[in-house]
């Protein structure tokens, strides 16, 4: 027997990354801005997204959502109340979405018509499974990864989950209507996010009162026009 070392230099998630690159190209060709929303369970992703979809539709934009969940379709039903097309992805125990799940759920989605044409959309939101660890490894081809954190979770969340916050392109602080009740230190939270991801765009919102939503929606509009 001969012992030899074979150099591979191969990404462990190469298959996911290759598929994500194809998706990214497809999104770009279709002119659709794709966002991947990631947070802990209970941060308020669904409520925030429901309001975002509703307001985008009110502004005449075409928006849709894919929503990941371990088992239920509760979130899809809540999001559908916005009037936007929504499709559920049940991961059956898997703690994250991957590019293959996205590719599969873009096919045969009636919102996209018989040819699964993404050009019918201006915005596609992907609500990831509630988890601040695993989704950060899986590229879904998104243009913007959004990390959300609620005022009830504590200001040090970005320090506890640096991997996720460091890979994000925008951060949202949710439930700011509860900030006073939680003794939320807003400056500290913003500082912590910046320590982990210097220069990131931060939005402070309440999906309940609508506070801060305009800045977020304007950002979406500007980012999308830069995409085209």
């Amino acid at each position: 027997m001969t012992t030899r070392i074979v150099e591979l230099r191969k990404g462990i998630l190469k298959k996911n990354d290759e598929l994500a690159a194809l998706l990214r190209q497809r999104y770009e060709d279709a002119g659709v801005l794709v966002l991947n929303l990631v947070s802990s369970p209970g941060t308020g992703k669904t409520t925030f997204l429901e309001r975002t979809l509703r307001e985008l539709l009110a502004r005449g934009a075409r928006a849709a959502a894919l929503v990941g969940d371990l088992e239920t379709d509760n979130d899809a039903r809540r999001l559908a109340a916005s009037g936007a097309p929504v499709r559920q992805i049940n991961t059956h125990g898997i703690c994250h979405l991957d590019a293959e799940m996205i590719a599969k759920h873009l096919e045969g989605w009636d919102a996209l018509g018989p040819n699964s044409d993404l050009a019918v959309l201006d915005y596609l939101f992907i609500e990831n499974v509630g988890n601040l660890v695993c989704p950060s490894s899986y590229d879904l081809g998104e243009r913007i990864r959004v990390a959300l954190l609620s005022v009830t979770e504590g200001e040090d969340k970005p320090l506890k989950y640096p991997t996720l916050f460091n890979s994000a392109d925008a951060a949202i602080i949710t439930k700011i209507d509860l900030a006073a009740a939680c003794d939320f230190n807003r400056d500290l939270a913003v500082k912590n996010i910046n320590e982990i991801r210097p220069g990131i765009r931060i939005f402070e919102v309440s999906a309940k009162t609508g506070a801060g939503m305009d800045a977020w929606l304007n950002f979406l509009g500007e980012t999308r026009s830069k995409t085209k």
Binding site: M1, I5, V6, K10, I12, D17, S137, P198, I200
Partner: protein, 131 residues
């Protein structure tokens, strides 16, 4: 938590690469895992055992090289190793988002025993490095 998925991806990938060496036995799989890769080493080792059981990779050792975060500072024109709690240049204390190392999730190499009589390519080096 997703280490099981990661381990399964490694098994698939190594099995594919080792197929170029018929009759070979994989002894060791060497990984480079960045501090920002969201992979927990102990958990991955455990999942590796579970994932390789009953496969041709059973018994192969998983060797993990931890890659610290390295950032580049424009002002100092220097790369520095840092922790994951604060993305600042240790020389001038400025914040920097220019990440040069730390997200690796890569199979660096494999060590295999090959039967002597089998003619195998001497250096099959694939350069498919990401990032």
């Amino acid at each position: 938590m997703h280490e099981l998925s990661i381990a399964a991806s490694i098994v698939e990938s190594v099995t594919e690469s080792a197929a170029a060496y018929p009759g070979s036995q994989v002894r060791e799989v060497r990984l480079r895992i960045g501090a920002l890769s969201a992979v927990v080493e102990d958990s991955l080792q455990f999942c590796w055992g579970v994932s390789t059981e009953g496969t041709p990779l059973a018994g192969a050792k998983l060797v993990i090289r931890a890659m610290p975060v390295v950032v580049h500072c424009e002002a100092c024109n220097a790369d520095s190793e840092i922790g994951v709690q604060s993305f600042r240049c240790p020389r001038c204390n400025a914040l920097t988002a220019d990440l040069r190392q730390g997200r690796e999730l890569e199979i660096e190499s494999i060590e295999i025993d090959t039967p002597d009589e089998v003619g195998v390519p001497t250096a099959l080096v694939q350069t498919e490095e990401k990032q």
